[in-house]
Symmetry: C2
Subunit: 140 residues, 2 copies
């Protein structure tokens, strides 16, 4: 059993954020010693999961839908797959952006907006984006 300071020390997540997450129902404190929250060690895993989700561009609400306050994945396997698909699209966009940047860093073309290769990368990614807008998903 960990007090909030210990959780802060081990996770690097500020106390204010822990209280905020608890208020939002993303984590649970297992009890109180007086006023003070007590956490089960498992909260450290949940925090890692939340950080991962945030880094993947999900909102806190979405993460809340994917995992319960105990950190277990939602029963809705279909929703989980849908999130995974959304991530695939995002990954494709990011890859195009990365390739575009790498190309721009190398290519000596006078105007990149007119460089064939650069435009091709741009188009791949922006075509993807329109698809996503239609579906209204995963707009990091």
């Amino acid at each position: 059993m960990l007090d909030i300071t210990e959780v802060v020390r081990r996770s690097g997540v500020p106390a204010s954020t822990l209280r905020y997450y608890e208020e939002k129902g993303l984590i649970l404190s297992t009890g109180r010693r007086g006023l003070k929250r007590i956490f089960a060690p498992r909260v450290l895993d949940q925090l890692a999961l939340i950080a991962l989700g945030r880094a993947a561009g999900f909102t806190l609400d979405e993460i809340g839908e994917m995992f319960d306050a105990g950190g277990e994945p939602s029963i809705d396997r279909h929703a989980l797959s849908a999130k995974a698909d959304a991530l695939d699209d995002t990954i494709r966009k990011l890859s195009a952006m990365r390739d575009g940047l790498r190309h721009a860093a190398k290519c000596p073309a006078p105007s990149h907006l007119e460089c064939v290769q650069f435009r091709r990368l741009m188009n791949i990614a922006s075509a993807r984006m329109k698809v996503e807008k239609q579906r209204g998903s995963q707009d990091i």
Copy 2:
């Protein structure tokens, strides 16, 4: 030469956003007819580029550093490469997240936080994240 309504129609970007981007120095209007802004067709490409950057998790300020108001990549090739590297890290995290979600959608384990495969995916991604925090980069 396009007026703002035409740019809105062709790009899907709201007029308020166009004015905001101009104010921020991300795009340029090439002149005025009376009070009204006139844009060169090239602004459509720049908007696509900005949308791509946003989707890749860059802030407007970062995009401003990567590309000048004409849409040409920054002269600082080193910075462009650095952004590309940051994207590589992000892509790795997202891939781990995606795999984790796909696994969670399938795996019948009672507790995923104790599922070896799930934990392995989590760890890959959170190790990556610490590296990024140290470098202070790309925290979508």
